[in-house]
């Protein structure tokens, strides 16, 4: 299993190279950052200096090679907005995002799995019908809308929680709940389906024939084998989580990578966008690796040598 992890990690640079290529192409071909960074009063000398600093006068392939060389050294250039190394700008916000995304994911998994189990156990009864139909509706409801409703209710009307910004745990609640709702409906429905499917397996009857109680079989036999489909889903949905992060951070003015990316894109802060995209790409690759390793840990049949 460790060897497998190492092999997967060795593929990481290839993924990153491809991500870098795409980022580079998209960002260079959609406009000239110099025009946006410098205002109309700037002298041609200033333009020339910045152009040279960003290597924008070189042919595109050379620019890419320079970009790759700098990338290898972790040097994305200096943020045009903050005038500090782009990578450290991103890293400063990474903690906030990880905190928010981690909390949101945790809420989504814990609540989603519990509700999914409730649906499966009381299949076609009131609890299942109620939860499932809300979940199905929730799949098509835009979560940012829920975020705005939450702010209105708990922050503006009741005044219980702060509207925005970062601080103690109370600042975390609304954005984390909002972010959780991006994944929650699917987690509920996948858990429900997967638990129902596994409940029909012969080994469930066999476990009960040993004298294990229904609840014990559900929690120690059915649930563990039902986790792999859920993990696969989370691996695929990690992008949704990132997108959700950007929206949530923006609604709640949460100081994270998502909001930084959004402002950097509108300001054409190319170095920060590049650094941000690559950090997110590494995050996605590592998350998927973690998902694969967890699945192997759970199910010995997919362990390779």
């Amino acid at each position: 299993m460790l060897a497998y992890a190492a092999r997967r990690l060795m593929l990481l640079p290839i993924s990153l190279f491809l991500v870098a290529l795409v980022t580079f192409v998209v960002l260079r071909l959609t406009g000239n950052p110099v025009d946006i960074f410098l205002d109309v009063t700037s002298t041609p000398e200033q333009v020339a200096a910045l152009t040279e600093k960003l290597h924008l006068d070189e042919p595109i392939p050379i620019q890419f090679l320079i970009f790759l060389r700098d990338l290898a050294q972790g040097d994305f250039g200096v943020s045009l907005q903050f005038n500090e190394p782009a990578l450290s700008t991103v890293f400063q916000r990474l903690g906030g995002t990880l905190q928010l995304a981690g909390t949101g994911l945790l809420i989504a998994i814990v609540v989603g799995v519990i509700l999914g189990l409730v649906c499966a156990v009381w299949r076609d009864r009131f609890a299942d019908l109620a939860i499932s139909s809300v979940a199905v509706a929730g799949q098509s409801m835009p979560s940012f809308w829920l975020g705005i409703l939450l702010i209105q209710l708990f922050a503006l009307k009741l005044g219980w929680l702060p509207t925005s910004g970062a601080g103690g745990w109370r600042h975390m609640i609304l954005p984390a709940v909002t972010l959780a709702t991006f994944l929650l409906p699917n987690i509920i429905l996948i858990t429900r389906a997967s638990v129902l499917e596994m409940s029909g397996e012969q080994f469930v009857i066999a476990a009960r024939a040993k004298g294990l109680s229904r609840l014990r079989v559900l929690l120690t036999h059915v649930l563990p084998v039902s986790l792999n489909p859920l993990l696969s889903f989370l691996g695929i949905q990690i992008g949704t989580l990132m997108g959700g992060s950007i929206i949530t951070e923006t609604i709640f003015a949460w100081p994270g990578v998502g909001r930084l990316m959004l402002t950097s894109i509108s300001n054409r802060d190319v170095p920060v966008v590049e650094a941000g995209v690559l950090v997110i790409a590494v995050g996605i690759v590592l998350t998927n690796l973690a998902v694969d390793l967890l699945q192997m840990l759970i199910d010995p049949r997919i362990r390779r040598h």
Partner: protein
């Protein structure tokens, strides 16, 4: 109800007397009826089945696929699928108490401890993500309260008991690392872990190759002699019954149609269905696995149960009375009963 004909039959007294459970029997089942409620409708998969299993007795249960053998077994364990099936009538008296009305918590103390069960397909009967040792220890810890170390020692003993090669190493193996035969040995070890009084074996060898079948049966027979538990051996292999069982009952369309001691059933089958099974059965010495031979026609669909004797559409002897009324299971000789209107004619022939 067509069964009421029974009251006009000469052996009425016997039929009524049978409805009382046998206090000496380990397991005494009376009038057991299991009803299914499915998307296509309601039907009885098992209809008023009654039988006894004495302590240490091996009872063979045979019948074509779909005749209600597994449903009977699951009913005895109270493990019928929750949504679809229920015991709609009858009593299952095990060691003096009726388990039909028992609460789930009480059933948990009986399952795996006093009644063990093994299943047809050892491939799907073990949880793929846990080691053999883990799955063996579970029952030991729940029923006997053994600590981890003690449970582990006992688990190894059990694997030795079922003659699993390198038992200690097998404890840490996952089900997919063992062959089908090995897995069935593990299932047997699990079922016998708490030395139950009754083992229900639902087609324990059907999914295995011929050589392995023979080994597993030999193992079961040895363990039965060693531990003395009663076995309800479900099979559609008459050869297995001939070699292993003390008594045998034949099921057809959710009913018991004939019951007799093994030697008697093979020598004097009374029911046309049993005769059909026996006459078309390959000789026991033959290499081929003696599976249930084909009898012309199909098993009656539970949704379109024929009027009268369920077997009449396939029976050469069927007469008007067969088409009108269900024959009751009546004694025809000592310890031998059959459910057929024309038994007397046939026994005479």
């Amino acid at each position: 109800m067509a069964d009421d004909i029974a009251t006009s039959h000469p052996s009425r007294v016997v039929a009524l007397a049978e409805a009382a459970t046998d206090a000496r029997a380990l397991l005494s089942v009376r009038d057991l009826t299991v009803e299914f409620q499915t998307g296509q409708g309601r039907f009885e998969a098992v209809h008023r089945v009654g039988f006894d299993v004495a302590k240490g007795q091996v009872l063979g249960v045979v019948g074509e696929s779909g005749s209600g053998k597994s449903v009977t077994a699951l009913a005895l364990m109270r493990l019928l699928p929750d949504h679809a099936a229920r015991i709609s009538g009858g009593r299952i008296v095990f060691d003096g108490s009726d388990i039909v009305p028992m609460r789930e918590a009480e059933m948990c103390r009986i399952r795996g401890r006093r009644i063990g069960m093994i299943f047809q397909d050892p491939t799907t009967s073990l949880n793929p993500i846990f080691t053999i040792g883990h799955q063996l220890r579970e029952g030991l810890r729940v029923h006997l309260g053994l600590g981890r170390a003690a449970a582990n020692r006992r688990a190894e003993e059990l694997l030795n008991l079922v003659r699993l090669p390198s038992a200690r190493a097998a404890l840490d193996k996952y089900p997919h690392e063992l062959s089908g035969g090995m897995r069935q040995r593990v299932m047997i070890a699990m079922a016998l872990a708490c030395e139950p009084q009754l083992l229900i074996a639902d087609e324990p060898t059907t999914a295995l190759d011929v050589t392995t079948q023979a080994q597993i049966l030999e193992l079961l027979r040895d363990l039965q002699q060693q531990m003395g538990m009663a076995i309800m051996l479900i099979t559609h292999d008459l050869g297995v019954v001939a070699e292993f069982a003390d008594a045998v009952q034949v099921m057809y369309a959710g009913r018991i149609v004939e019951r007799a001691p093994v030697s008697r059933l093979f020598a004097n089958p009374a029911h046309p269905y049993t005769q059909g099974l026996l006459y078309s059965m390959p000789a026991l010495e033959e290499e081929d696995p003696p599976v249930l031979p084909a009898i012309p026609g199909m098993v009656a669909s539970p949704f379109a149960m024929p009027m009268g004797c369920p077997f009449h559409p396939r029976c050469a002897l069927a007469s008007d009375v067969c088409r009108a009324a269900v024959p009751p299971l009546n004694p025809i000789a000592h310890a031998h009963s059959a459910a057929c209107w024309h038994v007397d004619a046939m026994m005479a022939a």
